[in-house]
Amino acid sequence: MSDYIIGLLMGFISIVIVNNLVFTKFLGTCPYLGVSGRLDMAFGMGMAVTFVITLAGVLTWLIDHMILIPNNLIIVQYICYILVIAGAVQLVEMYLRKFFPSLYESFGIFLPLITTNCAILGLCIFLFVWNVNNFAEAAVLSFGAGIGFTLAICIMAGIREQLKFSDVPKSLEGAPITLITAGLLTLAFMGFAGMIK
């Protein structure tokens, strides 16, 4: 039993740090660069993505293993994934609009764009590709992927808030320095690559 729990924990750490979707797979770069201007907004975005990715990961795993694989219907897998993600995003949107109107307004277009956040579709596909055969593991990996995304976007937002006060060369102001920062962050996270085999 303890082996099982350690396995889940390893999976969680692996998806948050070692196999972080943003840093090692370069997924979800659009909101990662687009909404990372301010720390509070970045955290809100991370939470929204975590919710959607957990819901979508669990639901798609269930649909995969209960409907699609037994009936040999893997061919409609992607359509089903997108369906689940779009539905989950709609739910988040309604929820935010009701309970966090200011957050809803500050997200603007980026909220519906979670639908096309490739980190989410990527995670759903990875769950299938990595042959995750265990519901608990799928749930932990989905949640961990969301936490990993939140971690990435919050680190980025923290750095960008500091960048506003620093003396950046004129030609690198704005998007260029952000991309350079993203590259350096990725390099730093490469150091974790050997941590879990």
Partner: protein
């Protein structure tokens, strides 16, 4: 027969996929329908009404991000009434009615006046300007036009106007007051600062349409219609003040009347003119 058989096999292997997707879609639509009912947000109908009463051009003159932001703010805080310059008195009155308030105080719309009368034939040019055809770049060179204060007539203000109310007529920027909404875009665009917002208490306002502070002699040498600071107008009305060789009209003191008409007729360079709706 072969083709028919193929179509049937195709159909047989395809329908489960279609049915699965349809069933999933149906399930999600039902879930979303329930969520939509449970999480419905009631919008204040006053905000929508106030928004409808505004011009909806998102010019930002009121200091908010756009008309919807202003509508929200004004419903929450009625003290912000009357900030909409393009909408003017009509929009203010409508919003006041929606909020069951009475708009009080003067609501004089501000409109721009170009403080120059120099048309192409009145101006003196030192050199032919062949550079980038904008006022801003022409203004960067010191001696394109003899008068340092006159309209350069490259039309930066025309380009800035969203409503087609600015036009260069015979080398002078002219405002079409029927189209102008008072959004202040041209005031910001003019590099020489000769366009100024003026409270239009009347449809037609009198103005000293010149900004030249050169001595009378120099002004006369450069321009046929510049203010030379002769102080003839100040003898007719206290509203005129001459400072630095330039007469100015205090618009708050202006009222249509004989004294102002006389001042206009006596002006030797005819620089006191009417601007406004015809």
């Amino acid at each position: 027969m072969m083709i028919l058989a193929d179509i049937i096999t195709l159909w047989n292997s395809a329908w489960p996929a279609g049915v699965t997707t349809l069933a999933l879609g149906l399930g999600f639509s039902i879930a979303l329908l329930i969520a939509d009912r449970k999480l419905k947000v009631e919008m204040d109908p006053k905000i929508e009404q106030a928004y409808a009463a505004l011009p909806r051009i998102d010019c930002g003159t009121c200091g908010f991000a756009g008309c919807s932001a202003y509508a929200k703010a004004v419903v929450a805080n009625p003290e912000l009434l009357g900030k909409c310059s393009p909408g003017g008195a009509a929009a203010t009155a409508k919003i006041a009615e929606i909020l069951s308030l009475k708009a009080s105080g003067s609501n004089i719309p501000a409109r721009p006046i170009v403080h120059c009368t120099g048309r192409t034939e009145d101006k003196t040019l030192f050199a032919k300007y062949d550079g980038i055809p904008t006022c801003t770049s022409a203004n960067a060179l010191s001696n394109v036009q003899a008068c340092k204060f006159g309209c350069l007539s490259f039309g930066d203000c025309v380009a800035s106007c969203k409503f087609g109310a600015m036009k260069i007529i015979d080398g002078l920027a002219t405002v079409n007051y029927e189209k102008c909404t008072g959004c202040t875009a041209c005031v910001k665009a003019c590099p020489r600062g000769i366009i100024e917002m003026v409270p239009f208490a009347y449809d037609k306002m009198m103005t000293v349409a010149c900004r030249s502070v050169e001595s009378g002699k120099d002004t006369k040498a450069f321009c046929k219609v510049g203010c030379i600071g002769c102080k003839l107008c100040t003898k007719q009305s206290e509203a005129f003040v001459v400072n630095n060789n330039l007469a100015k009209l205090d618009y708050a003191k202006y009222q249509p009347g004989e004294a102002f008409e006389t001042a206009m007729n006596k002006c030797p360079t005819k620089v006191i003119v009417y601007r406004g709706k015809k």
